[in-house]
């Protein structure tokens, strides 16, 4: 892990407010685990704190991030030209733990796909993928995993199941009852909460990648905490003890 100089080699608009950013790093980031993230310096002087982004892909000193424009930092980022230089601190945080089981279920919503992308690559055909987004167009975010036959839902019903992805997942959870399953989830808090409700009875093993506002990404500031069931020390750092938590240990 280090703070590494990086050069933008591609900053591509995908669909609506989603982009991918490809960076050439001046040296290796070392081993990258599924679920880990980086703190990216936003080029220029307009914002000064780094922004956390999941590692979407990494190989041979080339780092890819997928991001959604939601505020000032990502807005500036979306306008950064090729060859612009920046800094990448990482890889940071813990990782998804892949234990041996019969069924791996990966659930993602919207930009949450970025957080589970390396995990899906690792699991390959072993993963059952559930992806929810707003409309048909946004499904281009999962173009590279169509061969894994993802189950999709769109809020407007323009493709796949109409509604939210947890409702879609419900049937599958029912039909695989009794099997040894491991769920991985990354998406908006509301979605993760709905998932928690869906599998509450069986308490199916589930790991969730959570998002919190961060300042340092290194465990220095205690700004990024998430509340857990630990009564002695309820607040755990998403950047250090996370971003991946056991779904049954966090209070959303």
């Amino acid at each position: 892990m280090d703070d590494i100089e990086a050069t933008i080699i591609q900053n591509k608009h995908i669909v609506s407010n989603y982009y991918t950013l490809k960076l050439r790093l001046s040296k290796s980031m070392g081993r990258v685990l599924p679920g880990q993230f980086v703190m990216l310096k936003i080029p220029g002087n307009e914002v000064f704190l780094r922004r956390p982004f999941s590692i979407y892909a990494y190989s041979n000193n080339t780092l890819t991030l997928m991001y959604r424009v939601v505020g000032k930092g990502t807005e500036i980022l979306s306008k950064c030209p090729k060859n612009e230089r920046t800094l990448v601190l990482g890889p940071l945080g813990n990782a998804f733990h892949i234990r041996k089981t019969d069924k791996y279920i990966v659930v993602a919503g919207g930009i949450g796909i970025a957080g589970v992308h390396t995990l899906i690559k690792r699991l390959g055909k072993k993963a059952s993928i559930f992806y929810g987004c707003t409309n048909k167009e946004e499904l281009s975010l999962i173009n590279d995993m169509l061969h894994l036959n993802p189950m999709v839902s769109t809020l407007d019903g323009s493709c796949g199941f109409e509604g939210n992805v947890i409702a879609l997942l419900g049937g599958y959870i029912e039909s695989t009852k009794g099997e040894d399953r491991q769920i991985f989830v990354c998406g908006p808090a509301g979605m993760v909460r709905n998932l928690q409700k869906l599998i509450e009875k069986d308490r199916t093993p589930c790991q969730a990648l959570v998002e919190e506002r961060m300042a340092c990404g290194l465990g220095l500031c205690f700004g990024c905490v998430i509340k857990t069931i630990d009564e002695k020390e309820p607040y755990k750092r998403a950047c250090k003890e996370g971003p991946v938590f056991d779904l049954w240990e966090i209070l959303l």
Binding site: F48, L218, C221, Y235
Partner: protein
């Protein structure tokens, strides 16, 4: 490189640069980037007699040229710090300044009394920005009389040198500095964060109220350091918006004998080692034999 060594309360520090409390975790977290012994002294995260859970999120917010935090003084308690973390600093021969707080005078006294003198403890740093829950939540550091009292009482329970860390949100910080000095403080840290808030126009909410830190604080801190160093004879540690070597040098020139770096570490995790190197280079380039050559040389 020139000699950066400084004497603080009869203890030797490699250099006059520390982290600001609460901005370098429990110390260990930075070890994959640089060694803790790089610091002149490590300043602990704010500790209390009993552990505190801290505030719900959001706890951090970026503002133009600054950030607001509302961590709520989450900490594992002073006992666990000394059991689990203090040996790490001793092993690495890194002096420690123990930042501590309380929500009542009794809590300050209980915490200070628990800390035993040690060759590696340079000082206790008492955070006076805390709300006094027995006085309707007004902070301990607001009134000269209250500052005098609490400093005096803490001095009564510890033999370790005591540094009072002042809040800038006061009528006259020089008066507060004088009160702390008269109460027996051996040094001052200037300044803590400034109370601030954010309004989200879209949702019409106030998502965070907390302490403002970062570049925006620098001129306020410099004035406090300058005026207080003229008014009291005890050493002053400067903090507030130090982002680079030039900022650091300006604090020494204003009268600080040491400096603390906080928010800069979030922007650049190597800010502290870079600034230490930068100070050395500055002293060399200007033919100074030590930091003492530039402390307080700035004139109106």
């Amino acid at each position: 490189m020139g000699n950066l060594t400084v004497e603080f309360f009869e203890k030797t520090m490699r250099n006059p640069v520390m982290n600001a409390s609460g901005t370098l975790g429990y110390g260990k977290e930075i070890e994959s980037l640089w060694g803790i012994e790089t610091l002149g002294a490590y300043v602990t995260k704010g500790l209390s007699a009993e552990p505190h859970h801290g505030n719900p999120t959001p706890r951090v917010w970026e503002e133009r040229n600054g950030m607001i935090n509302s961590i709520g003084l989450q900490n594992i308690g002073v006992d666990r710090f000394f059991d689990e973390y203090f040996p790490y600093f001793k092993k690495r021969k890194t002096p420690v300044i123990v930042n501590f707080f309380g929500f009542t005078e009794e809590e300050y006294l209980a915490c200070a009394a628990k800390i035993k003198p040690d060759p590696f403890i340079v000082a206790l740093e008492m955070n006076l920005s805390c709300p006094n829950i027995k006085k309707g939540g007004i902070s301990f550091g607001k009134e000269p009389g209250a500052v005098f009292e609490i400093v005096k009482h803490v001095k009564g329970v510890t033999k370790i040198p005591l540094v009072a860390k002042l809040t800038p949100e006061v009528r006259n910080i020089v008066e507060i500095a004088q009160a702390a000095h008269e109460g027996g403080a051996d040094g001052l840290t200037l300044i803590n964060t400034m109370p601030a808030a954010v309004v989200d126009v879209k949702s019409r909410n106030i998502p965070i109220r907390g302490g403002l830190s970062g570049p925006i604080l620098k001129p306020i801190a410099l004035r406090a350091v300058y005026e207080c160093s003229k008014a009291v004879p005890i050493p002053i540690i400067g903090a507030g918006g130090i982002m680079n070597t030039e900022d650091a040098i300006s604090f020494f020139m204003a009268g600080a004998r040491a400096i603390q770096i906080g928010t800069a570490t979030f922007v650049d995790p190597y800010a502290i080692p870079k600034i230490i190197r930068g100070i050395g280079e500055y002293l060399d380039a200007h033919g100074c034999s030590g930091i003492g050559d530039i402390v307080g040389i700035a004139r109106d």
